[in-house]
Symmetry: D2
Subunit: 157 residues, 4 copies
Amino acid sequence: MSEALTFEHFDQAWTEKVLGKRGKKGIDAYLGIVATEFSAGRLVAGFDVTDEIVTMIGNIHGGCISALVDHVLGVVMYPVMPPRSWAATTEFKINLLAPVTNGRVEATAQIISMSKRLAVIRIDVENIVAAEEEGGEARRRLVAVAQGTSTIVAPRS
Amino acid sequence: MSEALTFEHFDQAWTEKVLGKRGKKGIDAYLGIVATEFSAGRLVAGFDVTDEIVTMIGNIHGGCISALVDHVLGVVMYPVMPPRSWAATTEFKINLLAPVTNGRVEATAQIISMSKRLAVIRIDVENIVAAEEEGGEARRRLVAVAQGTSTIVAPRS
Amino acid sequence: MSEALTFEHFDQAWTEKVLGKRGKKGIDAYLGIVATEFSAGRLVAGFDVTDEIVTMIGNIHGGCISALVDHVLGVVMYPVMPPRSWAATTEFKINLLAPVTNGRVEATAQIISMSKRLAVIRIDVENIVAAEEEGGEARRRLVAVAQGTSTIVAPRS
Amino acid sequence: MSEALTFEHFDQAWTEKVLGKRGKKGIDAYLGIVATEFSAGRLVAGFDVTDEIVTMIGNIHGGCISALVDHVLGVVMYPVMPPRSWAATTEFKINLLAPVTNGRVEATAQIISMSKRLAVIRIDVENIVAAEEEGGEARRRLVAVAQGTSTIVAPRS
């Protein structure tokens, strides 16, 4: 095992304001993305699958999952950056592994490398289906994996 | 220059049904994605930047652009596959180059390789701002580039 | 945690032939890549940093690391595919995290999703430096992370 | 068409020293990579397929192509950066499209976006086979496409 990554900053007060809150507008509000766990370098956030986002084929549009990945890539950075810094998602790559038809979609973002200018983050996206939704059997499946880079922009002096 | 890619199939009637139409629900309808040009292996589709998708910082959420990329990756495949085939976006990678604040966001998807089972597609995303929106100067800028893989699933016999 | 991935096939005899062996020619032989651990869906393989692969700047060329990633992406597939199948690396994405100047470079490849046609693999690349090489302090650092897709080609009947 | 990218710097003298030269050691020398064309933001470089790099299956190892991509990603940056800057390949993504068995492998790298800190580059890799090698028919085929990010490190003052 490589040395663990440690973080100089962690703005817990900021995470407490964000946890459990749904945005008021924008694509994250449309999807209903809510952060449910936050620690230094790690974020869990997701949304419930509603009829609105299921396509005619019966699955959710892949764009819902990639928008979630894009969202957590940015949000996971805020509490660990120096105050007033700004995080820009530079790039990411996503593999879509399985279709999602119901239940909840949850992304776990983990910062795996961080310098003054760049951070690299891995994201696991899971589909969680409760027993009653599937006729008796609860499920938790990996439905997408992603890896991305965030650029840290220092505050103007 | 490498040999040009040719396509055995092209369902023009399908493209004519899709062109100019906005979806009725789902993330593509939320964003207002509309296809405006279609030829064999090439698709142009985009959406207008509305107040709804602009964040507090004044830019659109990156998730809107990655959802557009995910969308065109699938749609560009349909007219060139054998009838009743199904295209699944396997993976893609996106670089976000510049923030978008207004105007229109337009993706051009081009299939650059296609076998029986897999296709590779490159996507350019541009931001087009009319002269009156920018105080006198029209602009067309590259704001994201992407590269992805689509898996072609043959119809069940 | 999502359900663990299980593998229908695992050709242990094949892995025993491969473990500890250096290729006779080709880029893997040039780098001196040797597999040191093999289990179903997981492979550890690496090479020692020699003067030959260190550039004028004092680091190894990034191409050595990407060639290692490409190599393990293929090799990890062989023992878990149906006999006589063939694995083609379809694509991968790599983030280079830190320069490597000495010691050993080791990649750990883990299959995280596998269907009849496609597998998705994550790779961690670490730099391991023994205490005597660094003047007293042994180190194990993550120097690259990758994510890729392998296409499984069934044997011709 | 988006506005063309322009470059403030272009060190033509440096490119003239590099063109046509094979490295003395390292993975680029092993492969025999030579730059054949250089202009601001664009580089063509490649290697000849030799018996040494062809595997038992009869194709070249994918690692040769990914090492070439990694190589051009760095080299294309040097003449367009401010003097004494340093380019670090941050990440790239590659799709391998077709096997290569003989002839020449040539990568064309094009910078498509460049700021003070980051550049995004697209790479086309082609396989060029002369008529006499293929029994009468010359060929030029796209065998890989890649997209990557280079970080520009300013010189220490």
